[in-house]
């Protein structure tokens, strides 16, 4: 039982990850895929951040007094990862606009049909 509570946090992240991942691989709409990708990535970010949490700790900005701090390293890593996520999203959106211009649709299936009919 105690494992359940100890790991509950992780399991929610895993659930989120799965939902995001499912959206990416099952949906045909290009924009929605990217949103799924974002959810997937955010879940991973949460996983990292939660492993840095220390019980009774506080944010790793040094204050006066005897305080315990949470682990700063995951925060640094995830800062970078968020930036990478934004960059990927921006690029993907630009690609989607171009695809829409070239094909007139942003549904994967329609695109496949158009390509196949060539």
């Amino acid at each position: 039982m105690s494992t359940f509570i100890d790991l509950y946090n992780y399991w929610i992240f895993i659930f989120l990850m799965m939902v995001g991942f499912y959206i990416v691989i099952s949906q045909g709409n290009l924009v929605k895929k990217i949103i799924g990708l974002n959810i997937f990535q955010t879940a991973v970010f949460l996983l990292y951040i939660s492993m840095g949490k220390v019980k009774g700790g506080t944010a790793p900005i040094i204050m006066a007094g005897d305080v315990s701090y949470s682990n700063p390293l995951p925060h640094v890593l995830i800062l970078t990862a968020i930036v990478v996520g934004v960059a990927t999203t921006a690029l993907a959106m630009a690609l989607i606009i171009r695809i829409r211009k070239a094909y007139g649709t942003i549904e994967e299936q329609d695109i496949h049909e158009q390509d196949a009919s060539l």
């Binding site: 990416v24 895929k33 990535q41 970078t80 960059a87 690029l91 690609l95 695109i111």
Partner: protein, 496 residues
Amino acid sequence: MISSHLPVLQVVLPLIAAPLCLLLRRSSLLWILSFAASLAAMIIAWLLLQQAGSSGVISYTIGGWAAPWGIEYRIDTLNAYVLLIVTSISTVVLLAAKKSIEQEIPQQHWPMFYSSYLLCLTGLLGITATGDAFNVFVFLEISSLSSYALISLGRDRRALTASYQYLVMGTIGATFILIGIGLLYMLTGTLNMHDLAQRLPAVAQSKTLLSAFAFLFVGISLKLALFPLHLWLPNAYTYSPSIVSAFLAGTATKVAVYVLLRFIFTVFGADYAFSVLPLTEILMLLAVAAIMFASISAIYQSNIKRLFAYSSVAQLGYIILGIGFLSVSGLTATLLHLFNHALMKAALFMALACVLYRQGDVMFSNVKGLGKTMPWTFMAIVLGGLSLVGVPLTVGFISKWYLVVAAIEQGHFVLVAIILFGSLLALVYVWRLVEQGYFHNSEEDHPRQEAPLSLLIPTWMLVLANIYLGIDTSLTIGAAEQAAQMLLGQAGGGSP
């Protein structure tokens, strides 16, 4: 003084050139700057290989912070070898790039194109040079993002969807890698690969470690286009501009293979990787499937770029097969083929760039009678193809030879048969090309119209390298064997 900073300069030099490219207005300077940066990187890689060969591991602490706290560059023979592959392919490709780019890419995009190209190079070099697991992820994303942009520049609209598909799969792969790295960090509290290697044996029993390994393996396999996760590769190589195809085919997947090797052998240790999971069987199964499936697919393609893209998937099968043997000759075969495949694919895609330059497309119909109209180009394609088949006196033969030796050593005679059968399949698709080129005449009577020399010479440089290194093997085999021994030496978990 400079020599001690080589590891970081290796990556930083092309990186500086990238924003400078954006600022340059004169297009002739653009090419000169890019080429110079790439050439300098190649020279540095060469020097690093010498240094690593003589003094073992070169460690460079960035920012002056000692290893597990700061980021460390750790160059050994393996890194340096891969760095040399990447930089030399990039340099030769750039040498040819000018004409092809002038034709395929609108002028307003040149600064950004060269910038992206250099960023891609930077990313690939950064992945290879670093000794920090998270740093791998960051540079992986640099190279990925820039390659999405490069691929999308293809003139066919399918380049866009290819790029999108690659983006989605690549990001999934990168996120899997991120999960894997996160789990490793969770177990050990460190991100430095060397430090990880020393701390992981203590937690070898952990289920978390196993799932970290699974995520890293799948994530890297996505980037590596290991069968059946290769779906992004054929489209990406087919529709991107020809220079980009040549560059990516020669470098991107090779670096991914390197990352796989690094994680399996250095971080997890061969003992762990091969004892906990039936990795030998998994790798061999996937490799055989890749060889068979992709080679057969290649035979049925009508677009020649696509044909060679499928052949790349098959060749990656050979590369992976070598890892599965877990022996010096197997790994040597892997590393040799890493180099050799980069050489032949870059040569082939550059020859295709020549064809594209004159014909505007690379369908089978464009090749008809090419043996007469573009004899040198077509000769390059044929020689590259023969190297792909593994005909003696080409580099392809050397790596296949080592692979067969490794298979025989361990008594896997079925695999020997499969390797030979794979070569046979390769012979079939290369023969289809030869037949079109020499024994069919083009419908229209094209005058003899060879590709411009600036494209042809770099192509032939690669073709000749294919042959020269197939005859004088001391250079590549030496480095490959050294690296393979080093990897297996680490298999015991000890430090080199």
